[in-house]
Symmetry: C2
DNA sequence: CGCCGTTATATTCCTTCGTATATATCGAAT
DNA sequence: ATTCGATATATACGAAGGAATATAACGGCG
């Protein structure tokens, strides 16, 4: 089984990463955990880093990608907004379509690399 | 004129960037200038950084991407090997095909961003 | 031989990035 | 009112990245 190269894709805006594999994974982890804290732990990153990524996305997009609440039953939590879900879905579709369209050359380039 | 998001793509191997926009641009600059020094200057990066990028590529691929010479008429120089040319061409083709296949969603996602 | 411009490499410094840690605030439930 | 867990934010420390600088080696050419 040959460990092929990994395909990574991001969209940047003014030298800042708008969306990429890390941010999307974070959003997805928030969807499944319901909090920034838990999502950060799942991904093995600090709360601060997760919060900064979320904050930059909320500022980057016209509509926030998450809705965070403090206090409450379990101390609060964070939910991904419908806009955030759109961002996730759109990014995953881009990734899938892009990879499918270039798979042959990706394999070829991968084949030029050392094992 | 709306400044749309930029599409960036890299192939990674073991958490290291095998090839991406920066490395390809460097290879292309070497093709057009004939030296690492001049290419680095064109791209506004330090010689050291350029050299490290080249070095990592030479190690990453089965066959070196450049052939560097010291001494000689003009002090030496660096040429991109045919393997290096293949890497450039393959990457640019991947980029083009990937973007073409996902253009619609890239535009859509871009539209969700602030101007 | 000595000159020249480039590659190759080490050293130093500064900036950036990320973790760890510490508080303060919030709001539902008890 | 107190408790509890999560958000929001600041600070300090450490690691990594990149620039700037310095130096040696190289080899064709005058």
């Amino acid at each position: 089984m040959k460990p092929h190269a990994q395909f990574r894709l991001r969209l940047t805006k003014d030298a800042e990463i708008a969306i990429g594999p890390g941010k999307v994974a974070l959003l997805e982890a928030i969807v499944s955990t319901g909090s920034i804290t838990a999502a950060a732990k799942v991904l093995g990153m600090s709360y601060r880093r997760a919060w900064l990524l979320i904050d930059s996305m909320n500022k980057m997009f016209k509509v926030p990608v998450v809705d965070a609440a403090t206090g409450g039953k379990h101390g609060g939590g964070t939910v991904v907004t419908s806009n955030g879900m759109q961002v996730i879905e759109c990014y995953r579709r881009i990734e899938e379509d892009a990879l499918k369209a270039s798979r042959r050359d990706v394999k070829k380039l991968s084949g030029l690399m050392r094992d």
